[in-house]
């Protein structure tokens, strides 16, 4: 008999995973939360104003609060990247991390979130970290008094531009649409910023630079000399092989289908947060938390009935 079997393993350490961990620990389930970065993509937000208890907090600070709560309630947290999940013959799940460690559990909540969408242009991978970044809060400070550009028109693009305007001399906001589509508060702030120039109906078509990014070409043919380019064109789910192998249904874009109880098509596996089709596809910190709570309660009921 194996001694170290978890009642629940939560894959992912963002707001969905941490909240699920808080609830599950209070249900007295033996819970492991495993993931790469505590807080996940939430850590990249430099200013969060719409989480009800927080008027103005950074993603890293909000992460610390959730992490502390999860640990204090009894959840175990391990920082490893999960690369595979298999169902054993006895119905238990084996979660395998990138360093080949196995963790065994009676149930799972998948909450590993989404990843930044890339532009898909030549030179993008080569210039990553050499002028191209997907995280303004991580790398913005390295472009003090320089010229940068942000691509995108959603909240994360707008907040990135607003963060960068106080560091860089000049910020171009490049958006393919005619009108920015984020929160009106952010749009007002953008319009009031003297050193942000919004380029509408524009797409980046070429990334130019040898050892680092020097220029970009945009769809109307103009070239802009820039030092840094921040890509904020949304996120997408990761297509792990285990999703197919475990016969977990996804929609056409790869988001995991869940019902109101956050249950996936596979018995014993739930999902929560940005990677699901839940919460009307809103994908906010608070909806991720809510999905995590619902998933943990569903797991509790399932294990109790077993």
């Amino acid at each position: 008999m194996e001694s170290n079997i978890y009642d629940l393993i939560i894959v992912g350490l963002g707001p969905a995973g941490l909240t699920a961990g808080i609830y599950a620990s209070r249900y007295r389930l033996k819970t492991l939360i495993i993931g790469k970065i505590n807080g996940g993509l939430m850590t990249e937000a430099h200013k969060i104003c719409n989480f009800p208890t927080e008027e103005d907090i950074t993603g890293i600070e909000l992460t610390k609060k959730m992490e502390k709560n999860a640990k204090n309630q009894g959840a175990e947290i391990i920082n490893k990247e999960v690369v595979d999940i298999v169902e054993r013959e006895d119905g238990l799940f084996k979660v395998i991390s990138s360093d080949n460690t196995d963790f065994i559990s009676r149930s799972l909540i998948l909450a590993y979130g989404t990843v930044h969408r890339h532009l898909g242009l030549p030179n993008e991978e080569r210039l990553l970290g050499r002028g191209i970044s997907y995280c303004a809060t991580c790398d913005g400070m390295l472009f003090k008094n320089k010229t940068v550009a942000v691509i995108g028109g959603s909240d994360s693009a707008l907040t990135s531009a607003l963060y960068l305007k106080d560091i860089a001399n000049k910020v171009y906001l490049i958006y393919r649409g005619e009108k920015l589509r984020g929160e009106p508060v952010w749009i007002e702030n953008i319009n009031q910023s003297k050193n942000i120039e919004v380029l509408f109906n524009s797409q980046v078509t070429e990334l130019i630079g040898e050892n680092k990014l020097e220029k970009i070409k945009i769809s109307n043919g103009t070239q802009l000399n820039i030092d840094g380019l921040f890509v904020e064109i949304g996120t997408e789910p990761i297509s792990y092989d285990f999703i197919k192998n475990l016969k977990i249904d996804t929609d056409e874009k790869g988001y995991i289908k869940v019902n109101q109880a956050q249950q996936t098509s596979k018995i014993g596996i739930w999902a929560a947060g940005d990677l699901t089709t839940g919460s009307n596809n809103f994908r906010q910190i608070i909806t991720a938390c809510a999905e995590g709570a619902i998933a943990a309660e569903s797991v509790f009921k399932y294990l109790k009935a077993k």
Binding site: G39, I60, G129, R130, T137, D139, M141, L142
Partner: protein, 111 residues
């Protein structure tokens, strides 16, 4: 116990450029979540490769270290550069697991 030491603009020359052992320099900052997650991995690496590799950290939020960030063209963090004989012989950008960075470094050092 971790063997990682903090280095700044004043002792960079002595601790990194003049080191007999190869040195892995982690350019990091407290505002960068992936950097914070990389820290325990580097602690472990410093123990595992003790005697073969020195691991040091440079906090680029410190005013005095910003010249180093400029000199080594740091544009994304975590950025880990491998030095030998005062020269950069390898570079690793972004969070990565222990096994991966260890084998990447060994491959370069043992070349």
């Amino acid at each position: 116990m971790s063997k990682v030491i903090n280095v700044n603009n004043n002792d960079f020359e002595k601790e990194v450029l003049q080191s007999d052992l190869p040195v892995l320099v982690d350019f990091w900052a407290p505002w960068c979540a992936p950097c914070l997650m990389m820290a325990p991995t580097l602690d472990e690496l410093s123990i595992l490769m003790d005697g073969k590799l020195k691991v040091v950290k440079v906090n680029i939020e410190e005013e005095e270290n910003q010249d180093l960030a400029l000199e080594y063209d740091i544009q994304s963090i975590p950025n880990m550069k491998l030095f030998k004989g005062g020269k950069v012989i390898g570079e690793f950008i972004g969070l990565r697991p222990l096994g991966m960075i260890k084998s990447e470094i060994e491959e370069i050092i043992n070349k």
